[in-house]
């Protein structure tokens, strides 16, 4: 018998009794309408032998132990997934099983906990970005940007999207998949010194351009010169759509301050572990005028029969279960638990904590950048203001360097040469508050003399 039998409460006697009650002679009879040709018999399915809980725990533990995780070795990878400290309180909040074993809060009266937490999350995202509207979250930063591009095309009834090459290459690949299948065009704005070449905008923007997509700080960790970007986009009737690092917003100008129309981003760093790249948290905020074009779930405030404040899923006429093929998106779920973590995280940090945290990232990354680029053969790839990531030209192949660093018990940065061959050997390092001076110095020590 299977190791998971304790998940199945029916006893043999009960099965017999229930089969009798429905007039079936055997459990097999319950599947009688399946064509004989496709029916599997006991033993047909070839899966590994079942494990008891004790064995499963040991097996999963052994698989996990084959990995080197960022608690074992300091990790200098970023590129959209970040090693930020997670206060213990966050996992205790998300560990409440009334939250995590529930589904989408369709029955509002017994889902006020989740609904209110999402309403609070939407408010927090708007306060961070300066926008007026936000949804309950999307799958990740990449799909949030793609959904924004699709929404921009729908709003403007135009068929072309401009994206800077300084946007995360994985995100651009997702954009390409989402747009191509709908016959929407994606054009890339070239780089100058690691940042968007804004001098090309006027010639690239035209009457069919729906949106200008930028990342802040960009993929190389550089601050883009956003002043004027919205002006140019708006003059041509296009929307300015951003992908931002939420933690950077504690320090940097908020997207509302440079007049963005839609703000998306990856919220994993807000209290969620990297988890090998998922589950992540896509956030999506916009100007009030775009409210009814926002994809995904949205929670709104209302009152009950007695006038008490309560929360419900709202504006559902945008959605697939009402509009079917005329829905504005096929999104049905969100990443509610990750959004809950983000809200608890932001509340735990508070304004002072989040600012301190962002300053720690800024200072530590600057320290690491200065040390690394002082080494023979390692040069800062681009000038400009950085946040927590920076690109470095290397004296040799990035993949080889990472193997060398692993030998020194360090998980290095991202080898970006495959994404930007024109740079030659180059690496994107990320330094967050979780890296100690000792660990940064160890990285510098391991780089020194390597070629």
């Amino acid at each position: 018998m299977s190791g998971g039998r304790h998940y199945l409460p029916l006893t043999e006697a009960e099965r017999r009794e229930m089969l009798a009650a429905i007039g079936a002679a055997s459990a097999e009879q319950l599947f009688d309408e399946l064509p004989e040709e496709v029916r599997l018999k006991k033993g047909d399915l070839n899966l590994p032998p079942s494990l008891s809980e004790m064995e499963a725990t040991a097996h999963l533990g052994a698989l996990a132990a084959k990995n080197i995780n960022m608690r074992d070795y300091p990790c200098f990878l970023g590129a959209g997934v970040y090693d930020h400290f997670i206060p213990a309180v966050v996992q205790h909040v998300t560990g409440r099983s009334e939250f995590y074993t529930a589904y989408t809060p369709y029955q509002a009266e017994i889902s006020q906990g989740l609904l209110q937490s999402i309403f609070e999350y939407q408010t927090l995202i708007c306060r961070l970005t300066g926008m007026e509207a936000a949804n309950a979250s999307l799958y990740d930063g990449a799909t949030a940007l793609a959904e924004a591009a699709v929404a921009a095309c729908a709003v403007t009834r135009r068929g072309k999207v401009l994206v800077s090459r300084s946007v995360n290459p994985h995100y651009r690949r997702v954009l390409q998949s989402y747009l191509e299948v709908r016959d929407l065009q994606l054009l890339e704005i070239p780089l100058i010194e690691g940042a968007t070449d804004f001098s090309r905008l006027e010639e690239m923007l035209d009457g069919d351009t729906a949106a200008l997509l930028l990342q802040q700080p960009n993929f190389f960790g550089l601050l883009e010169e956003m002043e004027g970007a919205a002006g140019i986009a708006h003059r041509h009737g296009a929307l300015l759509v951003l992908s931002v690092d939420p933690i950077s917003l504690a320090l940097f100008r908020a997207p509302a301050e440079y007049d963005a129309d839609i703000v998306t981003g990856e919220g994993q760093g807000l209290g969620n572990p990297p988890s090998f790249g998922g589950p992540l948290l896509g956030f999506f905020a916009a100007r009030q005028k775009l409210l009814r074009r926002i994809p995904g779930r949205i929670v709104g405030e209302t009152v009950d029969r007695d006038g008490r404040r309560g929360f419900v899923l709202t504006l559902q006429t945008r959605e697939q279960h009402i509009r079917r093929e005329r829905a504005i998106s096929n999104i049905c779920s969100n990443q509610a638990l990750n959004a809950l973590a983000a809200a608890a995280y932001l509340a735990a940090m508070g304004p002072a904590g989040l600012r301190e945290l962002a300053e720690l990232c800024l200072q530590k990354a600057a320290y690491a950048r200065e040390k690394i680029t002082a080494l023979e053969g390692f040069a800062q790839a681009f000038p400009g203001m950085h946040f927590k990531e920076f690109a470095v030209k290397l004296p040799g192949n990035g993949g080889r360097l990472n193997r060398h660093l692993l030998e020194h018990k360090i998980i290095g940065g991202l080898d970006i040469e495959p994404y930007y061959p024109e740079l030659g050997p180059a690496m994107l390092f990320c330094v967050t508050e979780t890296k100690t001076r000792e660990q940064i110095d160890a990285l510098v020590g391991a780089l020194e003399g390597w070629s």
Partner: protein
Amino acid sequence: MRKEQALLFELGAPGRRGCSLPQPDIPVKPLDELLPAKLRRGIPLALPELSEGELVRHYTALSTRNHGVDSGFYPLGSCTMKYNPKVNEEAARLPGFAFLHPCQPAESVQGAMELLYRTEACLAEITGMKRVTFQPAAGAHGELTGMMLIHAYHKSRNDQRKRVLIPDSAHGTNPASAAMAGYEIKEIPSDGRGLVDLKALKELLDDDVAALMLTNPNTLGLFEEDILEIAAAVHEVGGLLYYDGANLNAIMGHARPGDMGFDVVHLNLHKTFATPHGGGGPGSGPVGVKEHLVPFLPVPLVERGEKGYYWKDDLPLSIGRVHGFNGNFGVVVKAYTYIMMMGAEGLRQAAADAVLNANYLMERLKKSYALPYDRRCKHEFVLSARKQKKKGVSAGDIAKALLDYGFHPPTVYFPLIVEEALMVEPTETESKETLDRFAEVMEEIARLAEEDPERVTSAPHTTPVGRLDEVRAARNPRIIWDGDEGSE
């Protein structure tokens, strides 16, 4: 006593905080040097200020205002709200999984890649597919990915097709996903049996049909017994068959979509494979394909070579990426743990019990509620409250009345082809006592609908809030807190 729960923004006091950070251990530069004032945030950062204890009380209070599978019976049709084993949670939280970066060198994440490889093999075997991608983060995301694959397949054959066929009983995500992929949708009617109308389908089939999207068993909980004929007809005109795996729990271990002729399937790991729904996510919607669609899968795929596992990125016909990284890996860890514990026999038993539980409840409830399609169901069945409606009691009222008895209601008003629909999916992890108690309560509500309908239409009476005004929420949207009390 019903009380409002204060919002985060109404709690705390300026200067409080809920966590501490270390002092800088590096020489600190003047901020102006790293970030000139003109680039700094100019608008206030209005986040809550609470102590850690206040924060915990807030969320604990919220959690008590929420119903999950751990709180009680959750027969929400088509959502497979089965019990979520605790060991799965522990597995996903292991630092060796939770604290991996997706861009780490392959040699440092061999265990995670092995887990993906093994889970892929299990899911391919369970569905009868060749390969599986884990990038889709949810069922609807899987559907969109599947449609992109189908689009790429036809395009590679210089065969641009415009249309996707979808039964009128299908989940709303099906037409929405196909439309997201640029297809026009044609709806196929259901016949008197509640199954695809074969004649109508055949009339709609031509060489402009890219695919038929089918849920089997369908959303009425009925197995599409003509599936082999359907598959042959779709393939004959060059179309592909897409399997919406939302209802795989009914047949897993008893039949495979691949053997029925499906070319592409998506699974909902958060339904069939017991991973928690997370309050609406994260789920996971892996997509499996037959051999002829493998070249179009999203990149990268995990491969096994002589020196271990590696990422295969060179699929020239690939649709690209549909997720920034590896999909919801943490959810895959939970599903793998579940599959390893259940084994083939356990999965087969789970499906059999799910079907038994559904038929047992259906047999009893059809005495008090109308059952429009009275035939052997699979994992779920759809009642109609049309009898009760005559007394002024709607399916929605019955749902609200159930709340007072501690049950999450069934899915209501879906599928659209059943008037006053109540879609019940008990799952295999519920005991006979729970089913009996639920049946008693449903019978009690049916009796009240006859004798004292107002009791039902005014429900719920015991929940933290009463019925909420959804019209007001939509008409005058307040989707963020802006500081005032909200009373006009």
